[in-house]
């Protein structure tokens, strides 16, 4: 069931700077939707428009079928968790969590029940009487999440909630958020992050924002396996996908591309006769490249190796020096440094992009 509907939403500021243009998005009830994109792509702005903290320049936002464009934030049935936690510094954890309910004039018994319930869920029971300054970063973020839970909103909005935490805590809190989502299957969550791992692990669906618009919407694996365009292909996955220019020479069930650098790529993507001769970019993820003997897709000199034990990253330089590629081979391959190697990929893992858009 569609719960949030964004129709043709634009955002521009008074000085004529347009940040978002023509955003159309349906968000289903119970989904955990993640907005990702490079910094400055407007993902936080979009979230803040949903929250009601930014005005919507044009278009319509509906929640549960009701237009929310002019509704104040508190009436939208949402709760937001800020990157900076935004705790009320002069109030204890309990008072922080009770704040919204007190404003809503709930009875003390109701407030206590809601706060205790949220505190239990987030293991904050021992800290209820502390001030925020006496808490660690992770605890503060849990309080911020608790403050959202207490209000029992239909939609949770998370604005980069883990960015201020250190790496280990980030992983732990990420798992907590995943658990939290599981415990509230009917609540919708919208989550903004620039961290791919968070996006891939948490999301039901990911929205990739780029260039004032939506580049692609899909489940994490859809984005990984069938990126709609070169931007998404390179944005999702780390290290980024290698793109190699070439020309289609054979079409049909499988497509054969002659690469400009000399190799041959075969892809399981089917093409029609009219595609023959098209200039395309062949995309291969570093982890899909493997050492080849005989037929090869890519021949290059290994410039630098980064052995991480589990796998080795090879930074490749083609003989003419025009393009640099990365390959990720399992195991340790330090010996390959300064050697010229030949690589190929499974045809099922080879992506084709024509004029920036994926061919499927």
């Amino acid at each position: 069931m569609t719960q949030l509907k964004l129709s043709n939403i634009d955002k521009s500021y008074g000085n004529g700077v347009c940040v978002l243009k023509d955003i159309n998005l349906d968000i289903n009830s119970g989904e955990l939707l993640v907005f990702v994109g490079p910094s400055g792509c407007g993902k936080s702005t979009l979230l803040r428009m949903i929250a009601g903290l930014e005005t919507i320049t044009a278009g319509e936002l509906q929640i549960n079928g009701q237009s929310m464009n002019d509704m104040p934030p508190s009436k939208r049935g949402i709760a937001m968790v800020f990157q900076s936690y935004a705790l009320y510094p002069h109030l204890t954890v309990r008072e922080n969590m009770a704040f919204a309910l007190k404003i809503a004039k709930q009875s003390p018994a109701q407030i206590d029940a809601a706060v205790d319930n949220a505190a239990k869920k987030l293991q904050l029971e021992d800290y209820l009487d502390r001030l925020p300054k006496a808490l660690s970063g992770g605890q503060r973020q849990r309080v911020a999440i608790g403050r959202a839970i207490v209000r029992d909103p239909q939609v949770f909005l998370f604005d980069e909630p883990l960015s201020n935490l250190d790496a280990a805590l980030r992983v732990a809190t990420r798992i907590e958020i995943a658990r939290l989502k599981e415990s509230m299957p009917d609540r919708t969550m919208i989550y903004v992050t620039h961290d791919q791992v968070e996006a891939m692990t948490l999301a039901t669906r990911i929205v990739v924002l780029a260039d004032k618009g939506i580049a692609q919407v899909g489940t994490p694996l859809e984005l990984y396996n069938t990126p709609a365009n070169e931007f998404v292909a390179q944005f999702i996955g780390s290290p980024a996908m290698n793109l190699m220019p070439g020309k289609i020479v054979a079409t049909g069930e499988q497509t054969t591309v002659h690469l400009d650098a000399g190799g041959v790529a075969i892809s399981n993507i089917s093409t029609i006769d009219a595609d023959a001769g098209k200039v395309v970019n062949v995309g291969v993820r570093p982890e899909d490249l493997m050492l080849a003997s005989g037929e090869f897709m890519l021949e290059a000199k290994v410039d630098i190796t980064e052995a991480l034990g589990e796998y080795t990253l090879l930074y490749l330089q083609q003989t003419d020096g025009a393009e640099n590629f990365i390959a990720k081979l399992s195991g340790t391959h330090k010996e390959l440094r300064d050697q010229t190697i030949q690589l190929m990929a499974n045809p099922g893992k080879v992506h084709l992009f024509h004029e920036g858009l994926g061919m499927h």
Partner: protein
């Protein structure tokens, strides 16, 4: 190695020395005033306040009992008694019988009197005067002596200045008047300015930037410029001279700085907190009362200290807007000016009055200063 963080630099010593210097500079007159206010007139005339704890010496001329009290013992005429007035002690260092040589004799020695006879004076002032002939004359013999004056402190000055039922000095009344002027003149502008500052910092309305600029512009308008027009206005609308007038004047003159200070502080509060409160459903008024006011406490305290101090010490505004010919509404500053004329010689009264007028600002400052340095935002964001 001087540049390494954490190492002591010579600059630090300069800072410490300057601070010590400023502290001493401030303490000397303040302590002087405090000490002087507890001394008696005699003590003040013998030496400066820094000698208040030391025994002072003062020269006295005292008389023995008159000849009429003489008795005849063993054929000699004798006068005995004590030079010390009842209730006081003497601690005689040296004494003499002539004004030209007051240090001729030590206690216990015997001096020849010019009119015949001799006198022995002991350390505590007891004397014995003898002569084979009767002493004549109406009055006793003059004894010149130099006596040690032990340190003495008294609350009499305060009693005189503040609680004298006849209110001769008028300081008690003036103290009350100053209080009546100062407290509302501090609270009213803070109240108004806090609301204005919140609106100028966090509420969206057209012309906000212009309004802020206008208020900053008002900061440089000298107060004296408005005295006459404002007084005329007060007289025309029927407020006249009085407390309401002086409250309004202090409020108006304090407002630009108050709004400017508070707005600048509030604008620096984390935006996320306020947005979060908005999502939590708080109205602007609730955000103001529950978040902004408690979080702005350092700024509110700082401004109230300023406003309190300069309304407390104000003379000009009070003279123009408050003090009339009835003399019932004289503030302390005006009273002190008056007393400099009428009681110019009575240092103990002046010192006490002066100290009464600074003690309240001192208390206000020391009780609020911790809010000036305490960070209230710790833990809220990041």
């Amino acid at each position: 190695m001087d540049n390494i963080a954490g190492s002591k630099s010579s600059l630090r010593w300069a800072v410490h020395l300057s601070v010590a210097f400023l502290v001493v500079l401030w303490l000397i007159p303040t302590v002087g005033l405090l000490v002087s206010s507890f001394r008696t007139t005699d003590q003040i005339s013998t030496g400066g306040w820094w000698r208040a704890l030391m025994t002072a010496e003062h020269n006295l001329i005292l008389r023995t009992a008159p000849p009429s009290t003489q008795t005849q013992i063993n054929g000699k005429y004798v006068v005995t008694g004590s030079l010390a007035k009842s209730g006081t002690d003497l601690d005689i260092r040296v004494w003499g019988v002539s004004s030209r040589a007051i240090d001729d004799y030590t206690p216990g020695a015997t001096a020849k009197l010019s009119k015949g006879g001799e006198i022995t004076v002991s350390k505590d002032g007891h004397y014995r005067m003898e002569h084979t002939l009767p002493f004549t004359g109406k009055r006793g013999t003059r004894i010149f002596l130099s006596s040690a004056l032990p340190p003495e402190f008294t609350l009499d000055n305060y009693h005189k200045v503040l609680f004298d039922p006849k209110n001769v000095e008028g300081m008690g009344q003036a103290f009350l008047t100053t209080m009546i002027v100062t407290i509302p003149a501090t609270i009213i502008p803070i109240l108004i300015a806090a609301f204005a500052a919140y609106a100028l910092a966090w509420m969206q309305f057209p012309g906000r930037a212009l309004l802020v600029a206008f208020i900053v512009g008002l900061l440089v308008v000298p107060l004296q410029l408005a005295l006459i027009p404002l007084l005329k206005l007060h007289l025309n609308i029927g407020i006249g001279k009085g407390f309401i007038g002086v409250w309004l004047a202090h409020t108006a003159f304090g407002m630009p700085l108050a709004i400017y200070l508070l707005r600048n502080y509030m604008v620096g509060l984390p935006k996320d907190i306020i947005e979060n409160a908005r999502i939590d459903g708080a109205t602007d008024f609730q955000i103001f009362m529950k978040l902004i006011v408690p979080l702005s406490f350092p700024a509110l305290a700082a401004f109230s200290i300023f406003q309190f101090l300069w309304t407390w010490n104000d003379l000009l505004v009070a003279k123009v807007f408050l003090i009339d010919s009835s003399g019932q509404t004289v503030v302390m500053t005006a009273k002190l000016v008056e007393m400099l004329g009428t009681r110019g010689g009575n240092w103990e009264i002046l010192a006490t009055s002066a100290f009464v007028s600074i003690v309240v600002p001192l208390l206000v400052f020391f009780s609020l200063q911790k809010y000036l340095v305490r960070g209230l935002l710790a833990g809220s964001v990041k």
